[in-house]
Symmetry: C2
Subunit: 369 residues, 2 copies
């Protein structure tokens, strides 16, 4: 290959390294297997991905020799979580391609950096302020003059590390409750709907988009995703364009999910969608693509990071995806008998509260969108 | 559970034992993983299934202690090949449920017993005679007065162990060519089409049917399967009924594939379909179910042997499946870029001639059948 040529695609038989052993890693491994690719997992503990990976290495993400040993067994590295240590990704990237790269992790791990980054692309986000002390909270509340949300900058997911706060609330108590840690406060936006853009970007910068699902959360955890979302087509096209702009700005490779609030048609087009956050990985709101598309988000992520051409993101069916959380998965005998449901279980031993145990997809003949 | 109750379904987290490590075992393991089930492989050598199984044990199928050790690690045993030793299945069945059982293996492994069994169910097969000596060949040829096919009774697949013979040919040479081994001779039938019935039967005797694909062979190897087959609906219903009758007669559990010749509408309905052979396992002509059905033949096989309710066999798309044989798989970079093709590669290292390396599925909006 000459200088400037795109990297050659990894041939079948190559090995994908996955950082993390959860259900997303499991579904990535299953997708890799369809393409004749092997998966090696690196994680601090065993998990659902290990049962379908050719090999698992257990180690800490700050154990650089262990990471180096792992790098020698794989042809490319990806991750299934945005909470993987950035330094681990940087270290691995000296030895083997890491896709998406450390930059996407770095931005996604810090809610302040993430919001600043998105805003820098002229993409609307909710008004926000950094918080380094209780006084910053009072100043922001005075400025927003509205219900707000206080969030730790780091290590938040599924509604963890955040809570609502109103003007007049005790800001010292709030600052203590957030652990007196670097945080961000943002104005709470009265939105109509939540959608996500599911974008995949290849090593050559090619972009492809899945239909944007309409998402419903309960207690901060995704409960349900539906396609088509029935939002106006021009707004959905704008949502995809926003996803593509973020992916391009990060020089991203793989599937990127961008969660957005839809504020309604009464606003100017450019103000109707507001980015909440993005996940530098395959995403729960895209699980319906396994059953409703010829090529799932998982396969397209693998195709992208392996340097393959992207597969079709077309949808052959309408779909509804419902998460099975905690003890909801105990209903598996009834769900297994439901002829309209495609059941997915992740093989987790303990049905702990709030834990994603599986999901189900219902398929419907494709309507007119 | 009381006497006479159906066995309780294996809960998620249970382990499926698979005898054989080929691509069918691989696709079974991938399907089991979707349901939260683990797979252990037992085989004489490593193969495509091992990369996605939680564990592999290598051993000979006549190594009874090794088989017993394997049985202790699994909750149910199935097989991906009809050439697994019957004694191995019988030995395992003393320790753990084996589904489908040793009986299906025994019948399928011997072409004479298979034909006698099918004929005993009043299901049409081509006229056949057992062959134990060169004279039996001449007698049969004289009786059929037509082109015929001489086949070894055992260990034939993908057109191996068989060849055509005509009245007047040298029968001693033919007998030597077949290895002077127990054989069967059958009249060659001028058929219009080849179809297969893909049936799944649960532990409670429930039956479900996939649409019968139309199959095309080249050099004795399946090349292409298409659904819908465009054969008359009443003939397809009869094909499914034949499949169901064979499954029920074997007290079969799992997916059973029955290959049939379609002789055309000019004949009486009962004479239009003729069974060629059956395979007591998931089948190459059902690979399109992965992409065109909510629940694939692989998942339904796993559901059946795990004692689960069967999943829907409904098809959401029309489909064409094309096998990638030998060096055809070297075309993967072009096929990976084909937006209309869903590519499946089995991860086999060497693209030997006649070896099934992968397949691709093309999906089409569902027509009227």
């Amino acid at each position: 290959m000459g200088e400037g040529c795109p990297p050659a695609p990894l041939p079948p038989g190559s090995t994908i390294g996955v950082l993390g052993s959860g259900q997303l890693g499991r579904m990535l491994a299953l997708a890799a297997a369809r393409l004749g690719l092997k998966t090696h997992v690196f994680s601090t503990e065993t998990g659902p991905a290990c049962d379908v990976a050719a090999r698992t290495m257990l180690g800490a993400f700050d154990d650089l020799p262990a990471l180096a040993a792992f790098a020698r067994t794989v042809d490319v590295v990806t991750y299934e979580s945005e909470n993987i240590e950035v330094e681990a990704a940087r270290h691995l990237a000296r030895l083997v391609p890491v896709r998406p790269g450390a930059r996407a992790l770095e931005v996604a791990q810090d809610r302040l950096i993430e919001k600043q980054f998105i805003a820098s692309l002229s993409i609307p986000v909710a008004p926000f302020r950094p918080v380094g002390a209780a006084e910053d909270i009072s100043a922001a509340l005075a400025n927003f003059a509205a219900s707000s949300i206080l969030k730790t900058r780091r290590l938040g997911y599924d509604g963890k590390g955040q809570f609502g706060i109103d003007p007049g609330d005790d800001v010292s108590a709030a600052w203590q409750r957030i652990g007196a840690l670097p945080a961000v406060i943002e104005k709470r936006i009265p939105f109509l709907r939540e959608v996500s853009a599911l974008v995949v970007r290849s090593v050559t910068g090619e972009l492809a988009y899945y239909d944007c699902p309409l998402n419903t959360h309960e207690h901060g955890i995704l409960r349900r995703s539906v396609v088509p979302s029935r939002l106006p087509a021009d707004d959905l096209a704008r949502a995809q364009k926003i996803g593509g702009a973020i992916a391009a700005a990060l020089d991203y490779v793989g599937v990127l999910a961008v969660e957005m609030f839809y504020l309604g048609r009464k606003l100017q087009p450019a103000a109707r969608l507001l980015v909440n956050e993005f996940a530098p990985r395959v995403h729960n709101s895209g699980h319906w693509t396994i059953d409703a598309c010829a090529v799932s988000q998982f396969e397209n992520h693998i195709r992208a990071i392996a340097g393959w051409p992207l597969g079709s993101t077309e949808r052959h069916s309408d779909a509804e995806m419902i998460n099975l959380i905690g003890r909801q998965a105990c209903e598996w005998p009834r769900l297994a008998a439901d002829q309209g449901a495609v059941l997915h279980l992740y093989g987790k031993r303990e049905a702990r509260e709030g834990r994603k145990m599986g999901h189900l997809t219902r398929l419907f003949a494709k309507g007119d969108g």
